[in-house]
Amino acid sequence: MRALRHELHLDEPLPLRYGRWLFGAVSGDLGESYRNGEPVLTALARRFPRTLSIALLGLGLALLVAVPLGIVSAVRQGSSLDHTARIGTLLLGSLPSYWLGYLLILLFAVALGILPVAGWGTPKHLVLPALTLALGIGASLSRFTRATILEELAQGYVRTALAKGMGEWSITIRHCLRNALVGLITVTALRFGHLLGGAVIVETVFAIPGIGSLAVDAIFDRDYPVIQGFVLFTGTIFLLLNLFSDLAYTWLDPRIDLVDNRSRVAG
């Protein structure tokens, strides 16, 4: 027992242990799992592609439906489609993913029998988890698209374009959407970060061996190095996503200058 304590450095004072962990972390060593001795970074790297694949597929599905829906709702503001979309997205956005996932299992795996209940291995196993994530963020992305396009449609340049004879739809797609992209990219990057967080729950529902289920298992095993590694890992990804969206601004809207801080357009 004493030997094990010494080996795991549990007999050292807390600041020294934290310093040791921090020093290891910056040099790429997140320590080893208490449970099976596997290096934490290896475990995260092995499982992350699975989490990433359901998150990316979910995001793709969400964007594919939500952006067009948001645009149509904005252009046809007040129509029955707009109202239906408003109510539908509000309801979808209120459903807990840890309940929606099971409803989808009941519908597609039990009643229709066309998709597997849970697990990992074939492309079919990706569909329901990705759909669960997509429905949740799709709702908020669609509302955001609608709001920003509406804002753009109220701008003066739209009247000018209409006066010179451009069609409503081509103005929306060629001018408004382009201007709305800056905001849309920020929100998408943020939502994608939350999607990775939400994967914790979806991986538990669908028994997917990703980093989220790794963290949940680690919590119940009191496997602290794994928990610390997971938090550091997701935090890093979240920060990288924010950096990416900041860089994307300058590319989409050259008026924004991150270096000079003279930005005329509020981020």
Binding site: R86, L91, P96, H194, V200, I201, T204, G235, F238
Partner: protein, 273 residues
């Protein structure tokens, strides 16, 4: 447009009124003891004695859902009050005094906001161990940060205004200035944010419980009930359908009211996130 908004506000208020009356009247409304186990009456269909049937241990579903209001919504409301208290006071101190206190507090806020909220909450609740009070502590420890930053920003802009100068010239102390001059100007947008975020707070608390970190058996908490029902998804899906419906309906109610309040008090923020 605004007529549709006032209608959805009304629907939201009705839903919240429904839940508040259940929360307060639970002992009167529940037909049975929510924790009473009846091994010989497991997974029964709805009957006069058990209006929504029984769960895998023969407990009354209806009574468990009714008492669940107290655990799920009660915890979320307690969390909201604590989050607002911490966020507003720390944000006000930070924005009013600035200096080193501000510097330290805002770096803590930066760290907390550098994660999707569920991740640090999960880690804190995990380190503390299972229990509803730990879930409460974890959500408060994470969610206050956004409010502190909002309040700090608002205080920074208000503290330079002339009426604050005037109050100080009249001899008002720091506490009087913060509570009488600054806070009334800061509160409306903070309350709007709180009402819009209430739904996601409920989802996060029930979600941590669903993962097994929150309420422990036999506590009738909605998220924990969903977790308990998982093995019976295929044989008795109603065990998962009812608690999920309860959570969703409560969140719909808060979202309707929150968005209605936002449109009413701060039209600029409308659909902005």
């Amino acid at each position: 447009m605004s007529r549709a908004n006032s209608k959805s506000r009304l629907v939201g208020l009705c839903i919240l009124g429904f839940f508040v009356s259940i929360l307060l009247g639970a002992p009167v409304l529940a037909p049975n003891d929510p924790a009473a186990i009846a091994p010989d009456r497991r997974l029964e269909a709805p009957s006069a004695k058990f209006p929504l049937g029984t769960d895998h241990l023969g407990r009354c579903m209806m009574s468990r859902l009714i008492y669940g209001t107290r655990w799920s919504l009660g915890t979320a409301m307690a969390a909201a009050v604590m989050i607002l208290t911490a966020g507003i006071s720390l944000g006000a101190v930070s924005g009013y005094y600035r200096g080193p206190v501000d510097l330290v507090l805002m770096r803590v806020v930066d760290v907390l906001l550098a994660f999707p909220a569920l991740i640090p909450a999960l880690a804190i609740a995990g380190m503390l161990g299972p229990g509803m009070e730990h879930v409460l502590a974890a959500t408060v420890a994470v969610w206050w940060a956004g409010y502190a930053r909002l309040v700090r920003g608002l205080v920074l802009s208000v503290r330079e205004r002339h009426f604050v100068e005037a109050a100080r010239a009249l001899g008002a102390g720091d506490l009087a200035i913060i509570s009488r001059q600054l806070l009334p100007n800061v509160l409306p947008p903070v309350l709007v944010l709180a009402s819009v975020e209430m739904g996601s707070l409920i989802l996060a608390i029930a979600g941590l419980s669903f993962l097994g970190l929150g309420a422990q058996p036999p506590t009738p908490e909605w998220g924990a009930m969903l977790n308990d029902g998982r093995p019976f998804l295929l044989t008795a899906p109603q065990l998962m359908i009812y608690p999920g419906l309860a959570i969703s309906l409560a969140v719909v109610g808060f979202n309707l009211v929150g968005e209605g309040l936002r449109d009413l008090l701060d039209p600029r923020l409308s659909d902005g996130r």
